[in-house]
C-alpha cells in the first residue's frame, strides 16, 4: 500500500503511447508532406501508418515474449551483456537527441505564439524541469496522467476541429489517386518523424499489468493515424498544397482565426496553445522517463531525479545547437532517417529475431531431451 508499485494497465499504456506520438511533429507534418509530394498526402500517411503498425507489432511481440521484464534485461538476454550496453547507450543518445529536438521546436512555437520577449532558454528549461518532476514519480503516475489528459484533450481537439471546419474547401484535396508508388516511398520517411516516441512501449512494457494483452497497443497507432489523417485533411482542404509550403506550422494556422458569428471569443488560441503545451509535455515526459530508466539500468544508480537532472544538461545543450528553425528541421530529418530508424526499428527487430531463435533452440533442446 505504500507508494507506487509502477504497474500500469493496458488502457494507460495506450493513452501514454497516443500522447507520446502526438507532439511537435503534428505542427509541421502537412508542410513537410507538401514539400515532398504534390497531392494524395493522405495515402502517404496511411502507408506510413502501416509501416508504424508493423513496427509496433514488433514491440508488442517482444513484450509478450518476455512478460514483466525490463527492456534492459530483455536486451541483455537477446544481445548479451556488451550488446545490451551498446544498445542502451544508443537509446540514450537517441532520447537526448529526440527530446532536444522536440524541446527546441516547442520553445520556438511558444516564442512565436505566446511569449515573444522571453528568452527561449527559460522556456526550454522550465518544461524540462517539470518533466524531471514526473521522471521522479515513475511510470504509474505517467499512466494515470495520460489517462486523465487524453479524454480532455480529445474533447477540446474535436471542438477545435469543428470550429475550424467553417473555412474548409474540400476541393483542395483533389485530385486523388494520382500519386506514384515511388513518391509514396519518398514521403514515408518524412512522415515517420511524427511517429517517433512509440518505442517507449518497450520501456514501459515490463510494467504492464497483463503483458499478454500487449498487442492492444496497436490500437494506439490506429488512433494516432486517424488523428493525423483528420489534421491533414482539414489543413489541406483549408490551405491547399501550394499555400501549405509557405506555412511553417500549418496546423496552428488552422485555428488561427476561427470566425463564428455570435461566438464570445473569435480567437481560440488560448485553448489551442494550452492543449498543445499539454500534448508536448506528455510527449517529452515519457521520452524523458524512458531515457532515465535506461540510464538507471546502465549505471545502477537509484535516484531517478538525479539521473534525469544529469540528462537535462545534455538535452538542454542539444536543444540549443541548431542556429535557426530551418536547421532544426534539417537536423531532425537526418536524425530520423539515419539514426532513429536504427534505434526504433533495427534494434527491436534484432532483439525479436534473437529471442525467437533462442526460443526455437530451447524448444528444440527440450524436444531432443
Amino acid at each position: 500500500m505504500e507508494g507506487n508499485k509502477d504497474i500500469i494497465s493496458i488502457d494507460q499504456m495506450i493513452s501514454i503511447l497516443i500522447l507520446t506520438a502526438i507532439s511537435t511533429g503534428i505542427l509541421s507534418l502537412p508542410r513537410r508532406l507538401a514539400e515532398i509530394v504534390p497531392f494524395d498526402h493522405w495515402i502517404v500517411l496511411l502507408v506510413a501508418g502501416l509501416v508504424v503498425l508493423a513496427m509496433v507489432a514488433i514491440y508488442a511481440w517482444i513484450i509478450k515474449l518476455k512478460p514483466g521484464e525490463q527492456y534492459f534485461d530483455i536486451l541483455t538476454d537477446a544481445l548479451s551483456k556488451p550488446g545490451a550496453y551498446i544498445a542502451a547507450l544508443l537509446y540514450i543518445v537517441y532520447y537526448v537527441g529526440l527530446i532536444g529536438f522536440v524541446t527546441r521546436i516547442f520553445g520556438e512555437v511558444i516564442k512565436v505564439y505566446l511569449l515573444v520577449k522571453t528568452p527561449i532558454e527559460i522556456i526550454n528549461v522550465s518544461i524540462l524541469v517539470s518533466c524531471i518532476y514526473l521522471s521522479r514519480k515513475g511510470v504509474e503516475v505517467l499512466g494515470r496522467l495520460s489517462m486523465f489528459i487524453l479524454p480532455i484533450g480529445s474533447v477540446v481537439t474535436v471542438i477545435l476541429f469543428l470550429l475550424s471546419l467553417t473555412k474548409t474547401n474540400f476541393r483542395n484535396l483533389l485530385p486523388v489517386f494520382q500519386i506514384s508508388p515511388a513518391q509514396v516511398l519518398q514521403g514515408v520517411p518524412a512522415t515517420m518523424l511524427s511517429f517517433l516516441g512509440l518505442e517507449v512501449a518497450l520501456f514501459f512494457g515490463g510494467n504492464l499489468e497483463k503483458p499478454k494483452e500487449s498487442t492492444k497497443i496497436l490500437f494506439a497507432v490506429a488512433v494516432v493515424v486517424l488523428f493525423y489523417l483528420a489534421v491533414l485533411v482539414s489543413a489541406f482542404s483549408q490551405f491547399g498544397p501550394i499555400q501549405m509550403k509557405s506555412l511553417v506550422w500549418p496546423t496552428l494556422d488552422l485555428f488561427d482565426t476561427v470566425d463564428i458569428p455570435g461566438l464570445f471569443i473569435e480567437n481560440v488560441q488560448v485553448l489551442v496553445m494550452s492543449t498543445w503545451v499539454m500534448a508536448v509535455f506528455s510527449t517529452i515526459a515519457p521520452l524523458y522517463l524512458a531515457g532515465t530508466i535506461t540510464l538507471k539500468s546502465i549505471t545502477g544508480f537509484g535516484d531517478q531525479a538525479a539521473l534525469a537532472a544529469f540528462l537535462l544538461t545534455f538535452i538542454y545543450f542539444v536543444s540549443l545547437v541548431p542556429e535557426n528553425l530551418a536547421h532544426v528541421y534539417k537536423a531532425a530529418d537526418g536524425f530520423t532517417r539515419y539514426f532513429a530508424s536504427i534505434v526504433v526499428v533495427g534494434v527491436p527487430l534484432i532483439v525479436l529475431i534473437s529471442l525467437l531463435v533462442q526460443e526455437r533452440l530451447k524448444k528444440g533442446a527440450g524436444e531432443g531431451a
Binding site: M1, G3, N4, S9, D11, Q12, I110, L114, L115, T118, I122, I123, S126, I127, S130, Y133, L134, K137, V141, L142, G143, R144, L145, M147, F148, I149, F264, I265, E266, N267, Q269, V270, M273, S274, V277, M278, F281
Partner: protein, 526 residues
C-alpha cells in the same frame, strides 16, 4: 465483549498493553493512597469512603469525577445500593467474608457497564474517563462502573455542510453520541466499531467504523498500523489524527475527507470506506477519499439525477473558474492581447487606463484583500461578519475603483472567483484551490499562458502521484476505460436505479448493491 462496550469503544485491548506497572494490592488503604497520590491536587475528583454490610464492617472507597460521572448513576445505583440496600438484606457473613467482591459485583450494583481492572494506572485512567471506581477491602481488583455522563451539546444541524434537503443531524463532540447516530442508521451486525486509544497523555478514544464484508482488509490493516504508530501526547481534534495518518503531509490537497453528517458517513461506509470517529471532535474522517469524494455533496443523492448532474457539472465549472479566472485574465491582458476580440480588448484597455500597477499586482492586491476579509468574517460573530462582508466587498471595492488603484474588471473577476470558490463542497479542498490560485496568478505574471499551463501540468502530475490509503487520488478519472460505469458518480450522476454497483474500492464479489428496479418497472407497465 458486550455490544455496549463495542458501541462506546471503551477499551481497546491493544492500547492498554503498555500501561500498568503497579498491580492492585489486597490492602484497601494502600490502593487508596496510591490513587489519591496520583490524583493529588485534582479538586474535581470525589473520594467517598463508605462502610458496607449490616454492621458497617466492610470498607470501600468510591471514586469518581465531579461533572464527568453521571451523578444519578453514582448516587442511585452505586452509593445507595452499597450503603442502604446492602443493609436491608443481610448476606451470609461467611460468604461475604470470602467473596465480598462477588456479592458487590454480581448482586449489589445495578449498572449495565462494569469491568474489573488489575492495575492502579488503568483505574486512574478509567476515573479520568468519567467512570466510577470502587475499591474494596481485601480484594486485589478494582471495580469500574461505566458512569460516563457529562454535558453534551444537542445534536443540531451541521454548520459546514448545509443541505436544503436531507437530515438535519450533525455530529457532536461526544464519541458515543456520534457512533450512536451512525448505528441508528445501520441495523447491520456487519457494521463494526473498533476502539483505539490515541495520545500518550490524553488517551483519547478513537474508533474505526467499517462494514465488515465490504471494506478492503488491506485498508483496515494499514489504518490499524497508522493509528498505532501515532505517538503524540494529546489529541485535541480529529484534525490531529488526519494529519498524522495521511499519506503525503506536504501536499496542499487533503487526502482524508471529513464530514459532520452521519448520513454521509453511513453512505460512504457502504461504499467500502472506513470512518474514524475521534472523541471531542464533531468531524468524522473518511478514508480512502480522493478528489471525486471531495466534490460531492450529500444532497446530490437526495435529488433526482438530472438536477444532481447539472449541479455537479456546475460545481466542476465553478472550480475551474475559481482556479483559473484571475490567472487567465492576467496572462491574456499582459502577454497575449492578440487572443482577445478587438472590442473586448478596447473595453479592457479603457478600463485599465490610470491603473498604476501591472495586472499581476492588481490581482494579488485584490485576492489578498479578499482573503483578509474572509478571514475577518470567519473570526467575527455572525452579525458583524456580514457587515465586514458588505464593507469589504462593496465599499472598499468601489473606493478602490474610484481611486484608480484597481480596474473595475479586476473587481468583477475577483468577486466571481470568490463566489465560485464557495461552491466547492469540501472546505479543505477549497483552501487548496485558494492557495493554487495565488500560485497560478504569479505564474501567469511571469510566463503568461505558458506559465499557467505549466503549473497545471505540475499540479496534475502531483495529483496523479497522490494516494489516499492506497487509492489513487484521481480515481476513477485515471482508470475508467475498462468500465465506463465507474464514472457513474463523478462529474455526472446517473439515476439511482442505475447505480447498481458500489465503488471500485469494494471487493469484486461485493460490488452489487441493488437489484435492477428499472427493468421490473418496465415489465409492469408493458
Amino acid at each position: 465483549m458486550s455490544l455496549w462496550e463495542r458501541l462506546f469503544g471503551k477499551k481497546g485491548e491493544d492500547a492498554d498493553s503498555d500501561i500498568g506497572e503497579i498491580k492492585v494490592s489486597k490492602s484497601l488503604d494502600k490502593n487508596f493512597k496510591m490513587i489519591k497520590d496520583m490524583l493529588e491536587d485534582c479538586d474535581d475528583v470525589l473520594f467517598r469512603e463508605i462502610k458496607m454490610g449490616i454492621d458497617g464492617n466492610y470498607r470501600a472507597v468510591v471514586i469518581s469525577i465531579d461533572g464527568m460521572a453521571d451523578e444519578n448513576i453514582v448516587n442511585e445505583h452505586i452509593l445507595k445500593n452499597l450503603m442502604v440496600e446492602s443493609r436491608i438484606a443481610p448476606p451470609d457473613i461467611g460468604v461475604l467474608k470470602r467473596q465480598a467482591s462477588d456479592v458487590v459485583r454480581d448482586k449489589t450494583l445495578s449498572a449495565a457497564e462494569m469491568k474489573e481492572v488489575e492495575t492502579i494506572e488503568q483505574a486512574v485512567i478509567d476515573i479520568l474517563t468519567g467512570d466510577t471506581v470502587i475499591i474494596l477491602d481485601d480484594y486485589d481488583k478494582i471495580i469500574v462502573i461505566g458512569t460516563k455522563g457529562w454535558e453534551i451539546r444537542d445534536v443540531a444541524a451541521p454548520e459546514t455542510e448545509n443541505v436544503i434537503r436531507g437530515p438535519r443531524q450533525g455530529f457532536v463532540e461526544t464519541l458515543r453520541v456520534n457512533t450512536a447516530l451512525i448505528r441508528r442508521r445501520i441495523r447491520d451486525h456487519k457494521f463494526k466499531i473498533k476502539g483505539y486509544k490515541v495520545g500518550r497523555r490524553s488517551k483519547s478514544d478513537v474508533c474505526v467504523l467499517y462494514v465488515e464484508d465490504l471494506v478492503n482488509e488491506d485498508l483496515l490493516e494499514e489504518l490499524d498500523k497508522r493509528l498505532k504508530s501515532i505517538d503524540i501526547d494529546v489529541v485535541v481534534d480529529s484534525g490531529y489524527i488526519e494529519q498524522l495518518i495521511e499519506d503525503s503531509w506536504n501536499s496542499p490537497f487533503p487526502q482524508v475527507q471529513h464530514t459532520e453528517r452521519p448520513d454521509v458517513v453511513t453512505a460512504e461506509l457502504y461504499e467500502g470506506k472506513a470512518a474514524i470517529v475521534v472523541d471531542n471532535s464533531p468531524f468524522v474522517l473518511l478514508v480512502p477519499s480522493g478528489f471525486n469524494a471531495m466534490m460531492q455533496s450529500a444532497e446530490d443523492y437526495y435529488e433526482r439525477w438530472g438536477i444532481a448532474t447539472f449541479i455537479r457539472i456546475l460545481r466542476y465549472f465553478a472550480l475551474l473558474i475559481a482556479l483559473y479566472m484571475p490567472a487567465l485574465y492576467i496572462a491574456v491582458t499582459t502577454y497575449h492581447p492578440q487572443m482577445l476580440p478587438a472590442k473586448l480588448l478596447v473595453s479592457i484597455a479603457a478600463n485599465r487606463t490610470g491603473v498604476p500597477f501591472p495586472a499581476v499586482m492588481e490581482a494579488v492586491i485584490m485576492v489578498i484583500t479578499l482573503e483578509i476579509l474572509r478571514e475577518a468574517g470567519v473570526r467575527l460573530p455572525g452579525a458583524i461578519g456580514q457587515t465586514i462582508g458588505i464593507v469589504g466587498a462593496v465599499i472598499i471595492g468601489q473606493a478602490a475603483v474610484d481611486a484608480g488603484i484597481v480596474g473595475p474588471i479586476m473587481i468583477i473577476i475577483v468577486s466571481i472567483t470568490a463566489i465560485a470558490s464557495f461552491t466547492t463542497p469540501s472546505y479543505n479542498l477549497a483552501i487548496a484551490i485558494r492557495l493554487l490560485r495565488l500560485v497560478l496568478i504569479v505564474a501567469a505574471g511571469i510566463l503568461g499562458l505558458y506559465g499557467v499551463t505549466l503549473v497545471t501540468i505540475v499540479v496534475l502530475v502531483h495529483l496523479c502521484g497522490l494516494k489516499s490509503f492506497g487509492m489513487p487520488y484521481l480515481t476513477p478519472y485515471t482508470s475508467y476505460i475498462k468500465k465506463a460505469s465507474d464514472l457513474k458518480d463523478t462529474f455526472i450522476k446517473v439515476p439511482l436505479s442505475n447505480m447498481h454497483d458500489r465503488e471500485t474500492i469494494v471487493k469484486e464479489s461485493e460490488r452489487k448493491r441493488m437489484r435492477d428496479h428499472r427493468d421490473e418497472d418496465l415489465n409492469k407497465e408493458g
